[in-house]
Amino acid sequence: MQTITLKLKDAAMSGIAQVPVEVDALTPDKLFGKSEAELKAVKVWWGNKQEAAGDLFDVSVAGDAGSGDEVKIVFEGDLTRVKRIGDGMKSGEIEARGDVDMHCGAMMEGGKIVVKGNANCWAGREMRGGELVIEGDAEDNLCAMYRGEDKGMTGGKVMVNGNAGECVGQYMAGGEILIKGNVDRLAGLSMSGGKITIGGDAELFGPDMIGGEIVVKGKVLEMMPSFRPDGTESIEGVEYKKYLGDLAMGEKKAKGTLYAR
């Protein structure tokens, strides 16, 4: 096992503006096999210029890895303006110690990301595989699609310990999302597959659903007006009302299922 620790230098965020640092070049699979010197030389986008990773981060490396799976990257420092952590990641592990900026785990295919804080918008966007754990809250568009795409998350597993924002799993087509807290409106918007479980409260979930399922364990603050009640069902010993829809999409397409108490 190899651990690469990347601590963002304070200087990077001390200017008149906090220009985000974009770290899609710093994933375990991409850094595997690099010497410390090579690693420090990896180019990272910072605004309109590319900088050497070693100029932006304090870099330390411990241990060895036989493959990308055995590489763990630990991001430290102020990560609130560090975007695209684990973007496109295929293997290995990332631990982000603090709140992270947008697109954490976007396009992720494999491996595991743990965020020890909150994640800004578009975490897990178009995620295809692997595991994403957010110990704090997730903002809007968690596991959603990119603008205009008709598929968001298609595979993998996401867990949020806190709350999540609007449009969780928009255009989701596969995989699993578990939110322990509440979600804002439009969870599962245009969803076609996969499963979203919401531990807390939700409102206006499942609009334009054509497949997949959403379970709301907490309170339903407002229900969509275009779903058909379809009896009850027991999940883990608890009785839930079942709804089919969204009938706003027409009978033929309305193949989504909601469970609420």
């Binding site: 200017g15 205009g148 334009d208 009938l247 706003a248």
Partner: protein, 434 residues
């Protein structure tokens, strides 16, 4: 005294083009025909920025165009991430130079759509837009729906020229042969003219659209007795009017783009139009504000692939409103310089975003002083497009119309100012041997 006809108004998205003016001694002395009161006021002119200026010790010092342009170029050249914002009140010829400048700098380019009809564009990204030109509405529409819009006050000529009140081929009788539905949270001037006024609860548009869609698709049985403050009977009534119409046109405004589910309201409004199209001919159109906000979306799209909120920092376009949109960028303090052209964020942006704008170097290009001038570090006055400069604009229905030049001026047109800034930046880069 010379009479000038077919003058094109450079105020709102209606782009009225049948205005008649009287011009004397290089001055517009009278607006004889065609313009609404707001358009008339613009044509007759108001207080201009007199001279280029640079802020020193808190005060604007007048200077030459050369000096101001050089200073502007220095600010942008040094920047790691600059925001080039505005664009909706200038012509497409200027937009093109703007895109080139953005690309050259690796900057972020955004336009006022991001604080008005950006949500509509986002909705088009998801579902497309069944629409038409305004002449189609005038000639065919027998049912007009205004949703979250008050054209009687905001687009004064709209109903007269293009919709409810206009007369056309199959609508010879004007409003007599038409019906109008207005959906709004309060009884506006437009709502008072409507056959049916649907009073909706603030922020509940989304669910009302879904309910109407379910009804139009034959599922009224699942719709509850009241949705978003609207009784089910009224929803059924509106759905029936849609079904019985030959051509239904929905116009929507800022009342629905920025409340509740925001851009997803518009997705749903478009989905409502798609459902209506199963029964009749149905189209929908955003009531665009500034006269060429549609144009900046068009130019950005054919030149970069994307309509607004474009980040060119990696040398190619990355589009993600909510991330690259001006208010978000400023709110987060993500950019270190800004150029504001043909718009006024000083008056329209949220306070938190303005705080950052006040902190970073700002270049303003505009014919008129406005709240943005109060904190701009470089101020460059421009010719007024449509009065002192010609060029292409796109009406709210994307019909391209050419603004005319009516008066002579010594002020430079936007296009030339931008071109000179770009030339200056390229010279700096060459000097540094990049």
């Amino acid at each position: 005294m010379v009479e000038v006809t077919d003058v094109v108004c450079s105020l709102c998205g209606c782009v009225c083009d049948d205005i008649v003016l009287e011009v004397e001694n290089n001055e517009i002395v009278k607006v004889k025909k065609g313009a609404c009161s707001v358009g008339k006021a613009k044509l007759l002119g108001h207080e201009r920025i007199k001279s280029p200026a640079i802020r020193e010790n808190g005060e604007l010092r007048e200077c030459s165009y050369d000096e101001a342009i050089k200073k502007a170029a220095e600010i942008l050249y040094k920047s790691r991430r600059s925001l080039l914002y505005g664009w909706s009140s200038t012509v497409c010829e200027a937009h093109k130079v703007g895109v080139e400048l953005t690309e050259d700098l690796g900057a972020v380019m955004d336009n006022t759509a991001s604080v008005c009809h950006g949500p509509s564009v986002l909705a088009i990204n998801d579902v497309g837009l069944p629409s038409c030109t305004l002449g189609e509405v005038k000639n065919r529409a027998d049912l007009i729906i205004y949703w979250g819009a008050n054209p009687a006050q905001a687009h004064a000529n709209h109903m007269k020229r293009y919709s409810y009140v206009s007369k056309g081929y199959w609508t010879e009788e004007g409003k007599k042969g038409k019906k109008m539905v207005v959906v709004d949270v309060r009884k506006t001037m437009t709502a008072k003219m409507a056959d049916v006024f649907v009073q909706i609860k603030q922020g509940k548009d989304y669910q009302v659209f879904s309910a109407l869609r379910a009804i139009l698709r034959g599922h009224e049985d699942v719709v509850p007795d009241e949705v978003g403050g609207v009784p089910k009977e009224q929803l059924l009534e509106v759905a029936n009017m849609v079904k019985e119409s030959k051509f239904v046109m929905t116009f929507f405004g800022m009342g629905v783009t920025h409340t509740g589910a925001r851009h997803n309201n518009i997705v749903n409004a478009i989905q409502f139009t798609r459902a209506a199209h199963l029964h009749t001919k149905a189209s929908i159109m955003p009531l665009r504000g500034h006269y060429n906000v549609a144009g900046i979306n068009q130019v950005c799209t054919w030149e970069t692939g994307f309509p607004f909120a474009i980040d060119m920092s990696r040398g190619y376009a990355w589009y993600n409103p909510g991330e690259q949109s001006a208010t978000d960028l400023l709110y987060r303090g993500d950019c270190d310089a800004a150029m504001i052209i043909a718009s006024d964020p000083g008056a329209h942006f949220p306070g938190e975003s303005l705080k950052h704008l006040a902190k970073i170097p700002v270049i303003q290009i505009d014919p008129y002083a406005n709240p943005t001038t109060e904190f701009a570090d470089v101020v460059i006055p421009a010719a007024v497009s449509g009065i002192e400069a010609e060029g292409n604009v796109y009406r709210m229905d994307n019909v391209p119309i050419r603004l005319r030049k009516i008066l002579d001026t010594d002020y430079l047109p936007d296009e030339e100012i931008l071109q000179r800034i770009l030339t200056e930046i390229r010279a700096m880069r060459e000097k540094e041997g990049e």
